[in-house]
């Protein structure tokens, strides 16, 4: 166990090193820098341009900039986000919790709904509820999240005005609102993007949960449970599910990278000011330190979550002695 955790940590460190290097190297090929838009006009004398670039280290050779950047990173400094006129660490400190909130709520909703759907499908195997939900979950996996997000935003948001179209809080002087009203406002803004993300998660979870349950339902101990006179739901909930949840929890770690990818698009569609939106803005503004930080942090989250779920999935794996 300890060995596995150490290996995991080393792997995580390797991922981060690879990502940091790769992103930095690639950005060297990118045209322009954060000052291109502001400074490369005709009115700015070359000496001023040089001075500004020198102040933020953009005149140094790439190798030296890389060493500087890594060194600063080791001290927890992420650099200065010129496009936001704030240190990267501040921008990130605002954005990361919002993304974690969105992804966390979507994961919780998605897994709860997906497991329930899987249970219903297994309960009514090959009858109409199974077939109907099977078609729906297939659609949920096949339909890209951004499309669902687009539809939800347009109809539920713009057309019927049930939910806000964009942002994380209502316009106006919300800072003076009481705390519970602000919390409700946040939930109201969170609802659409979180549910849209959760639909995709739920569809994938349900497909795996159904298959895992059907595999377990053929086991002898399920027959024993039925012979004891347990109702079908009790059999499913107490005897099948605990033995069929392992592969679904393992999915958590596997699904996370793609969920974070999906969240990037959803944040952009719903204007949710998390890491995804920050990444898009930073890319458009050619704000390298911010881009690097965004990609690195997204990877950190994915790697850490994956390592965690591996440990969790291992601890719930069926305890079973081999039949001699």
């Amino acid at each position: 166990m300890t060995r596995r955790i150490v290996v995991r940590l080393l792997q995580a460190a390797a991922v981060l090193a690879v990502v940091a290097t790769a992103v930095f190297v690639l950005l060297q090929f990118a045209p322009g820098d954060p000052f291109a838009a502001a400074l490369d006009g005709t009115n700015v004398p070359p000496s001023v341009r040089m001075e500004w670039r020198a102040r933020y280290g953009f005149d140094l050779p790439p190798a030296e900039r890389f060493v500087r950047w890594i060194g600063a990173l080791a001290h927890g400094e992420l650099g200065y986000a010129a496009s936001r006129h704030r240190p990267v660490a501040d921008v990130v400190a605002d954005a990361v919790p919002r993304t974690l909130l969105l992804v966390g709520v979507a994961l919780a909703l998605g897994f709860a709904a997906g497991i329930l759907v899987g249970l219903v499908q297994a309960r009514h195997h090959r009858r109409w509820p199974d077939r109907l939900l099977g078609a729906l979950t297939l659609g949920g996996v096949a339909m890209p999240e951004f499309l669902l997000g687009l539809l939800a935003m347009t109809w539920l948001g713009a057309r019927w005005r049930l939910f806000p179209v964009a942002g994380i809080a209502s316009l106006g002087d919300t800072a003076t609102w009481p705390a519970w009203e602000r919390a409700l406002d946040l939930l109201w803004h969170l609802a659409l993007p979180a549910v849209v993300l959760a639909v995709g998660v739920a569809a994938r979870v349900a497909r795996h949960q159904r298959a895992a349950l059907l595999g377990v339902l053929g086991e002898d101990y399920i027959r024993t449970a039925r012979a004891k006179g347990l109702g079908e739901w009790r059999v499913l909930w107490h005897h099948a599910l605990p033995n069929a949840i392992g592969p679904v929890l393992a999915l958590l770690g596997l699904a996370l990278p793609s969920l974070i990818g999906g969240a990037v698009l959803i944040e952009r569609i719903f204007g949710w000011p998390g890491m995804g939106l920050t990444l898009f803005d930073a890319l458009l503004a050619r704000d390298y330190p911010l881009v690097l930080a965004a990609v690195l942090l997204a990877t950190v989250v994915a790697v850490v979550a994956r390592a965690l779920t591996d440990v969790v999935a291992e601890s719930v794996a069926p305890r079973r002695a081999r039949i001699p």
Binding site: L26, A142, I260
Partner: protein, 281 residues
């Protein structure tokens, strides 16, 4: 063995239907210039034909520039499915080669490939591709194929490596070796055909992953650039008119969902055929 798997798949009605949908989509993409009624970029009458609802002349309606949506979706299939097929082929070829090499050669090759897979698989693919595309600016479809395909070989490599290692232990391989067959002959004549069904599963899943990826990229303006139509950028164009001109979004959306869904179903049925269960589960 592998032969039985293909026979079982052919006997499966659901699998045939899914393959039929994919085949029809591919055919429509190939024949688009001949079956599309209009030039996808032509703007015959931007005033009178602006946002016309579906009719006999324009079965999927027209867009704000009076372009025929049906023709655009058909030509979009050419680009979207072409990029997807190319990326899928690239990632499956890369994955199969690397996975098979790792399993057959073992040693440090296996160590490097396995470590690479373990490390890279934790990275959010969409994020990486977006960052790359945004960095390089607008890319040609060929570069998209390289980027999307080059980032998707991990799962295939993992599956192929495990399968080849499994088959290497089996008796028929030992028997072939005993008869004096060379290592590469065994790989080519025995191991690759044996793992082909698993590679097909990986290919179907890869297709189901890359179609939405291209659509997502084009939708945020980082993929296929107008005036070249792709399902993603048709959706981008239509997204502003969702409440007034539903046909701009519904048809490309249906095209994406149908093809991705068919690829997923095909992967499911392939797995069932490999497991050897004739009955649907």
């Amino acid at each position: 063995m592998a032969g039985h798997t293909w026979r079982r798949l052919l006997a499966d009605r659901t699998a045939r239907a899914a393959a039929g949908v994919l085949g029809a989509a591919a055919l429509a993409a190939v024949l688009a210039p001949w079956i599309a009624g209009y030039d996808p970029t032509a703007q015959p009458d931007p005033v009178a034909l602006r946002l016309a609802a579906p009719s006999w002349q324009h079965p999927f309606g027209t867009d704000p520039f009076s372009r025929d949506v049906c023709s655009r979706v058909l030509h979009g299939a050419r680009i979207s499915l072409g990029v997807a097929a190319g990326a899928m082929l690239l990632s499956v070829t890369l994955g199969t080669t690397l996975g098979a090499l790792a399993a057959v050669l073992g040693g440090w090759v296996d160590g490097v490939v396995s470590a690479l897979v373990d490390v890279l698989i934790a990275m959010p693919r969409l994020l990486v591709v977006i960052a790359l595309v945004a960095t390089f600016g607008a890319l040609s479809p060929w570069w998209l194929v390289v980027l999307i395909g080059g980032s998707g070989w991990l799962t295939t490599a993992r599956i192929v490596r495990a399968e080849v290692r499994d088959h290497q232990q089996r008796e028929y391989v030992t028997a072939a070796r005993a008869l004096g067959a060379s290592r590469w002959r065994i790989v080519w004549r025995h191991l690759l055909p044996a793992v082909a069904p698993q590679v097909a599963v990986a290919a179907a899943l890869a297709l189901a992953a890359v179609i939405p990826l291209e659509a997502a990229l084009s939708f945020v303006g980082l993929g296929i650039q107008p005036p070249l139509p792709s399902w993603g950028n048709i959706l981008l164009d239509g997204s502003d008119y969702l409440t007034t001109a539903w046909w701009l979004v519904v048809f490309p959306m249906a095209a994406i969902t149908l093809t991705v869904g068919s690829a997923l179903v095909l992967a499911d049925r392939l797995r069932v055929a490999i497991a050897g269960e004739g009955r649907p589960s």
